[in-house]
């Protein structure tokens, strides 16, 4: 856990937040991402309209034919970002890469069960199922602190 120190500064001084850490871990990045509210939002478009989508509302993000789609509970939006850019943006959040083409929100997983051929299928809270590839299972475990 971090020690939290609030220091009042003179109105003429610039306000700032400094994070002092031994190592830039996912936990540190999560704190930073929460502070940078704008980074917790992805822009998605649908029907020629652009929407600001909070990361916590996203179920999963999938890349299909070089296009990136953002899946919410019921709606689907298209993002201009590449999947690796979204992955970078979502570092330190509950999102993790679960296969070569998908980034999944851990907070939206209801349960996980073994699928065929060493993969796992994640049942989401909206009833959809997303496949977690064998090589990304350790990433999920790490995120869950296992």
């Amino acid at each position: 856990m971090f020690n939290v120190t609030i220091q009042q500064v003179d109105p003429s001084d610039k306000e700032e937040i400094v994070v002092k850490c031994h190592e830039i871990t996912d936990e540190v990045l999560a704190v930073v991402n929460r502070l940078r509210r704008n980074d917790s939002i992805l822009l998605g478009s649908r029907d020629n309209e652009t929407f600001r989508i909070p990361l916590k509302e996203i179920f999963y993000i999938e890349s299909v034919d070089n296009k990136t789609f953002i899946y919410l509970k019921e709606n689907v939006f298209e993002s201009k970002l590449k999947l690796y850019e979204v992955e970078e943006l979502a570092r330190g959040t509950k999102m993790f890469r679960c296969s070569k083409s998908t980034i999944l929100n851990i907070g939206k997983i209801r349960s996980v069960s073994p699928s065929l051929n060493g993969r796992f299928s994640a049942k989401l809270t909206n009833g959809e199922t997303v496949i977690i590839s064998r090589q990304y299972v350790p990433v999920l475990k790490k995120k869950l602190g296992m």
Binding site: K94, K100, I106, G107, I109, S111, V112, S113, P114, S115, L116, N117, G118, R119, F120, I131, Q135, V137, L140, K141, K143, L144, G145, M146
Partner: protein, 145 residues
């Protein structure tokens, strides 16, 4: 490209697993079975041959898209037939069996080992899934707090 890479990685993993398992089992047999002394001159080739028999057909178990149950079973059947054929050919070349009954015994052993490997893999995955679900519950509770 990355698909090819992951198939090669997967097959190489199986190759080394099978190679090590075969060496380990033969070493145990040498240690514990009286009269068992199986270290012929061509031993490294036998072991690597077994590794290749396990590794090459395993490419069939790499899927680009999530397979249906029927597709998966079909691939497993072909996978098994290729492994069985490979072992029988290697066995014939190395004199592992001399008559039909011995060949049948080897086939039965291969079937048992094949089913055993899949069963162990499934139960390992089931156990992993249970642990992940437990951790998921805890993770989500912590987040709510």
């Amino acid at each position: 490209m990355s698909d090819k890479k992951s198939i090669i990685k997967f097959s190489a993993n199986i190759f080394f697993t099978v190679t090590v398992c075969v060496m380990f089992i033969i070493s145990l047999c040498n240690l514990f079975l009286p009269g068992f002394n199986y270290y012929p001159k061509e031993f490294p080739w036998i072991v690597m041959g077994a590794g290749l028999i396990g590794a090459i057909p395993s490419c069939l178990l790499c899927f680009r898209k999530e397979p249906t149950r029927a597709e998966f079973i079909m691939r497993c059947v072909i996978h098994f037939i290729l492994i069985e054929a490979g072992i029988m050919i290697e066995g014939a070349l190395l004199g592992w069996y001399s008559d039909f009954s011995e060949a049948l015994l080897i086939t039965a052993t291969v079937i048992v080992v094949y089913i055993l490997v899949w069963t162990i893999t499934y139960f390992c995955s089931l156990s992993t899934a249970k642990n992940i679900n437990r951790a998921l519950g805890k993770f989500n509770t912590d987040e709510e707090e």
